[in-house]
Symmetry: C2
Subunit: 488 residues, 2 copies
């Protein structure tokens, strides 16, 4: 029986999409950068259906592409256009909250649950699911786990990896691993869970997960600081860490150029401090317990920082409206940067202590390519994850000869500096298809060989999301195609 | 050239131990339960020497046994007595602190560093390395990582796994993986680090690590509570979590029998509350910032718990001496239990919400084997990790027919109950050689097959710590030999 017919018998007609108009949202990524045909898309409702789908794909020697909310920034979840067109397994219909245990602080969910839904369900039980990111209204838990999504909660709560206790996975042979453990301690053999987390659909399809919940914070305090340099910002970060420990929930760095663009491009935004010509830090504390104590802590640390001259100026939000206004400036950077011109963003992370060196050296390396180029700088300083964005006006960009090549050289220059500081070229977005060349350039051959051995052990036929994460072992370094302007 | 001669040329004579008296501390575990011969022990000083040792072992087709402080509770680090005697690779001479970065909050260490040394070096830089356990004066970081050691810091800071950012590993082919990343975010392929953590020396030898440091707490508050039942203790845990969030750093449960034994057996101990005939909880808060605020928080939550009737009686330590006295009661349990009789301890963990059910059901299951048997109960309730200890006086134990078989049946009964609640038979001690039979009994075949595929991919010759973690694939369930009386 042909594969598509077998899917129809298994799932019913409405769960098998083959017409181009039905597939449109699945075969192209949300930014419209990658598009390639799929054999079909299937919409299973249960783990058993996913397993049956995989067994059919194996029998027909047909590649499998797991897809969540399709919000990847690096082309990880759309067809590659190489080899046989894949079957897209979209988990949209698998969105049950299977259970929530407020005493164990866990919830068990289908992989297709939307992140925002998970956050809401947790909050309604007085708990926090702490992963939070721009795409939370449409991205799915399975995709979050498959890519080990980061976002704004990492400083305090870690990445997605740190908030998953157990997994259910359909393996490349169609069997199901029920690893839905809800335990804080379990030392019984190799930790398979962490191998699937961040594997971008190349080792199996995640169909369910046990998520770790946290107490819901009841108090927040937000301040905006003007500082002289990234070095000064780093010292202020140290003060907050020493005094506030895990109450420190955000420490975001922006340069003057970034603030200028937000004020220029986004109506209604204003700079919380008088001095735009500085480096800016948004700092947030959050805690259970009462708000007055937290505000007092913020005040104490801020006074310390002002006295020692580390901070030029600082404003503490005294109302919910002020807190929101400060965050709005931070959250407006993507919109502002897109409107203003062309930014060649990077997703590097380096040890936190080397962030100032990274900024200096990477700017110098880029300006050796394009002298005098301005930079937008914005990032999660507390995680060492700085988005350094060489910035062109539209006119400058259009006038540039060899745009693609220049973009490549600029990105490569920044990643080379990150690598020289033992940093990474992909802090939170993953590898997908755009960065497999970087895997060859920056990963030690021993590490690549181990990853290939894992892939071979789990998916010997190579049917799962082929070409993602690991380049073919015969490949030499390839220049990546270039997405622009993504700022998180 | 014979292997031992080759080792001498490589390392010098003093780094190759072959005489029985020199090997005595290495071929037997610290409790004297397991003993078997080794070919020799080698004491490398550098990662390069470890790599050269492994290449020689491979060339001579000789098994390799990595050994840290030899404090395993399940026979994971001494020769098995099966197959060829192994080469013990003891990392005792590799104890350099390679670097400490107080701004990035990381330190890089040789795997042979003793845990207590790491804690001290971190503290002298105003930082906390939070893993803490009974053997910390002699256990080594490499062994901690190889077994994903738990201990008393897990509730707040997680297991060893959660405090390691990067690893250096000599692989079974003698190559070196330099994965010494010191990054908070790094999404570039499969997370190999987590595969080595907890692999008990079966996938390679960990030679170095990047450890995560935390702000050093400056305030502590400890209280002792008397409650009516594990259910009540669970509700009190919920109160503390909601009010104190990550300031809650210990929540230890003990039953009346445990308190009685400590008072009887260990001179100078006294019960902090009047009512011995109750369940007892030691709760600790710790924080940066000032002690008065933390004490006030403790007082507020305690008053809440008293008002709602959840707590019968509660005492907050008002001095360092009182805090120490409370912890001394908790830390005296191993000594007391050893002196008093024979306890058949378990290392189960279950979801925190099911701890009371686990206690009830496991006691009933054991008493179906030995009617009326008393139980010592002590454990890390906040982690769901309860050591349930069926307890015999020496006279009762000596009078017992078929002691080994009874011990086996009792342990099995407790592990069966844990398993039925989706718990684990090894929360923090690992599998080693004693629990491979449990792996077959409790792990789904799909999970075992994945673990075997990983082992095959990393160590195709099977020379690394053979027989540990994974039983041979032909093995059927084997009854484990029985260690007794370990309580952590």
């Amino acid at each position: 029986m042909p594969l598509i017919e077998a899917f129809r018998q298994l799932l019913g007609d409405t769960a098998v999409l083959t017409r181009e108009e039905d597939l449109a949202g699945l075969t192209e990524d949300w930014r419209g950068r990658f598009h390639a045909p799929a054999l079909c898309a299937v919409l299973p409702s249960t783990t058993e259906q996913v397993a049956a789908i995989i067994r059919l794909c194996v029998a027909h020697d047909t590649p499998v592409l797991p897809q969540g909310g399709n919000t990847s920034l690096c082309g990880g979840a759309t067809p590659s256009g190489q080899g046989k067109p894949p079957v897209i397994v979209a988990l949209t219909r698998m969105r049950r909250i299977r259970s929530l245990d407020p005493v164990n602080n866990t919830m068990v969910v289908d992989a297709g649950c939307v992140l925002a839904t998970v956050q809401e369900v947790a909050a309604s039980a007085g708990r926090l699911y702490p992963v939070s990111l721009g795409a939370e209204g449409s991205c799915q838990i399975g995709g979050n786990i498959g890519t080990n999504a980061g976002g704004t909660g990492v400083l305090r709560y870690g990445n997605t990896r740190d908030n998953v206790l157990g997994l259910e996975v359909v393996l490349p042979d169609g069997s199901v691993w029920d690893g839905l453990y809800a335990l804080r301690k379990n030392n019984t053999g190799y930790d398979l869970k962490h191998l699937f987390i961040g594997s971008e659909g190349t080792l199996g399809i995640i169909t369910g997960a046990v998520l770790k919940l946290h107490p819901l914070p009841t108090a927040e305090s937000v301040a905006w600081l003007a500082v002289d340099s990234p070095q000064a910002a780093l010292k202020v970060l140290g003060l907050f860490q020493a005094s506030c420990s895990s109450r420190l929930s955000a420490f975001e760095l922006m340069n003057a150029k970034q603030i200028e663009l937000v004020l220029e491009q986004v109506p209604g935004r204003r700079c919380p401090v008088a001095e735009i010509d500085a480096w800016h830090v948004l700092v947030e504390l959050s805690d259970t317990g009462d708000a007055a104590a937290l505000a007092a802590t913020m005040q104490t640390v801020l006074e310390q920082a002002l006295e020692t001259g580390l901070v030029r100026d600082g404003v503490v939000a005294t109302s919910e409206a002020q807190r929101k206004a400060m965050w709005l400036v931070r959250h407006s950077v993507s919109e502002a940067n897109k409107k203003a011109g062309v930014g060649l963003t990077s997703d590097t992370a380096v040890p936190v202590s080397t962030v100032p060196d990274f900024i200096d050296q990477a700017m110098a390396a880029v300006r050796a390519i394009v002298p005098g180029l301005p930079f937008i700088i914005v990032g999660h300083m507390g995680d060492g994850n700085i988005h350094l964005i060489p910035f062109f006006s539209f006119a400058e960009w259009d006038a540039l000869p060899n745009r693609d090549e220049t973009a490549q050289r600029i990105r490569r220059a920044m990643n080379d500096v990150a690598s020289s500081l033992r940093g990474t070229f992909s802090a939170e977005h993953g590898v997908g298809r755009t960065l497999t060349g970087e895997m060859i350039r920056y990963k030690p051959p021993v590490e690549l060989a181990l990853m290939r051995a894992v892939k071979q052990a789990f998916d010997p036929s190579g049917l799962f999301n082929p070409g993602r994460v690991l380049p073919p072992s015969s490949a030499t370094e390839v220049t990546a195609t270039s997405p622009t302007n993504a700022t998180s």
